[in-house]
Amino acid sequence: MIGFLWRRLGHGLVSIIGASLVIFIISRLSGDPISLLLPPDAPPKIIAAARIQLGLDLPLWHQYLIFLTNAAHGDFGQSYRWQMPALDLVLQRVPATVELACAGLLFSVALAVPLGVLSAVHRDGLIDLGGRLLAMLGQAMPNFWVGLLLILLFSIYLDWLPAFGRGGIQHLIMPAVALGWYPVAAQTRIVRSAMLDVLESDHIRLSRALGTPEWLIVWKYAFRNAAVPLLTMLGVYFASMLSGAFIVEVIFAWPGIGRTVVEAVFSRDFPVVQAGVLLSSILFVLATLLVDISYSLIDPRIRHER
């Protein structure tokens, strides 16, 4: 088990370093990184100093090492819009994004699990067909459009929920729904097909033969088996939450990494863009790692293999 953990951590580290390399390469694509990393009105003395500090006359791999060491020390440059270190700026925003991503994932799972289980139990029934329809719609609607429609309905027409900002739960509902809407289809399918498989299995039949009440068979004995494939995919879905959060944050003016990076792109605040992209990658890798660990906790067969 410990060996497995170290291996996964190793993989994660490789991914993060790889991501930093990709970011570095992209930042050098424009030809003149100075124009990216410093504001256009920077005095020549600052430009010259930055040239030396970034090692711009050094070979590319050396520049990358400088970049990497700086990054490891948390130095991503200064955000010239906010006059503070880019990393600090981004780090401040991380909790908000994590909160939103978790809420979105929670919403999608809370919808997908009952839909999936009930669809499997009442196969081809009304819930099954209705659920499939709902899921199909969900996959065809972009999350930002759902967000806009929600704002139109609940903020503008009904005036029930606030359209912007972060605060109490009433601020979280609409963004979470807009974000979590998309993967419901895929998750429901996974749960449904896993349940259908399990419900046919010998051990469920034995449970039934020995007089276990049906609702327990479905929600306890069958579901825990069906949860396994869903859990393995949760990492993927959390990633899509992080990705989607970028856009949803813009719509709802949610103070997270996404909105910050988007604004930074348009205000040419490249250090923040760099820091934000790397940080979101780290978040994703961490999330996948966590999911892998919890997966081995849920499925005892894996636990003992390691």
Binding site: M141, P142, V265
Partner: protein, 294 residues
């Protein structure tokens, strides 16, 4: 996406034999056909000019509302431009971007997947690591940083989509090739000294064609939404070109004045994606039901 294990050797199915005429998803095809027609013929045939600014007619609601009219069937935006016309114009971007992006990412992904699966060992390991690395950067984040460097535009969108989705194809093709490698006629070809490109072209490619086709059609919906998202953020299509995502971004400014400007382009996106997904599902069921878990 997980690699799937194939238990039996794949026959090379003949497309024509498998696609009979009955049971086709006619509604989806109709909608998709309309979108493609709009893309190809919209410029020439559409009576509603997407760029005709008419401030006097701004914020006109759709025809079924009190102050609406058939001259602007779906209403107008803040500059008096006809929404239906803009939707038709936006179809072109949708079709073009989807086509390019999917073709490119499919081709690149398939090639990489074939190389990875066929040669195995350290090439495979490296390529799979690269896939992992690419997967750890959220797609939109990648788009943002690329746009920051490359400047927004149609090309940027295509590049971003290709860079994001190639790995999906690569992983799945690699899985297929791993199984195909064990087939007799592939092994014979190798020992007979047939050159690798020929093996790729003659033996591997026909067998993975089905999978590629299904993957591509399943992707269309995602790509359309991705393009719309990027354009919405301002990273994609720029004015004066029209994109559905861009329309939504504009409409957001005056959301309280014109609900139709927000709703109509979104419905266009939704219907197109829905049709693409349904068609993709149908195609997958016809050609390769084993891929159901995708």
């Amino acid at each position: 996406m997980s690699d799937r294990a194939l238990s039996a050797p794949l026959p090379i199915p003949r497309l024509r034999a498998r696609l009979g005429l009955r049971g086709w998803p006619w509604l989806s095809l109709f909608i998709l056909g309309t979108v493609i027609a709009a893309a190809l013929l919209g410029d020439a045939l559409s009576p509603w000019d997407p760029n005709d600014i008419d401030l006097g007619a701004s914020f006109q609601p759709p025809f079924w509302m009190a102050t609406g009219a058939f001259t602007h069937p779906l209403g107008t935006d803040n500059l008096g431009r006809d929404i239906l016309g803009r939707i038709i114009a936006g179809a072109r971007v949708t079709v073009v971007v989807s086509l390019y992006a999917i073709l490119l990412s499919g081709a690149i992904g398939a090639l990489v997947g074939m190389v990875s699966g066929f040669f195995g060992r350290w090439i495979d390991t490296i390529i799979m690591r690269v896939v992992e690395i690419q997967n750890s950067i959220p797609a939109v984040a990648l788009a943002l940083i690329l746009a920051a460097v490359l400047r927004p535009g149609l090309n940027t969108v295509v590049i971003v989509i290709v860079l994001t989705y190639w790995s999906w194809y690569a992983r799945i093709v690699r899985g297929e090739v791993l199984s195909l490698k064990t087939l007799d006629y592939v092994a014979f070809a190798r020992t007979a000294g047939v050159s690798t490109p020929v093996i790729f072209r003659r033996h591997l490619l026909p067998n993975i064609m089905n999978t590629l086709l299904v993957l591509a059609t399943l992707q269309v919906g995602q790509v359309i939404i991705f393009e719309a998202s990027l354009s919405f953020l301002g990273l994609g299509i720029q004015q004066p070109d029209v994109s559905w995502g861009l329309m939504l971004s504009d409409a957001r400014q005056y959301i309280t004045n014109a609900w139709w400007a927000i709703t109509m382009p979104g419905i266009a996106i939704m219907l197109t994606c829905l049709s693409a997904n349904m068609f993709g599902d149908w195609l997958r069921d016809r050609l390769d039901p084993r891929m159901r878990q995708l």
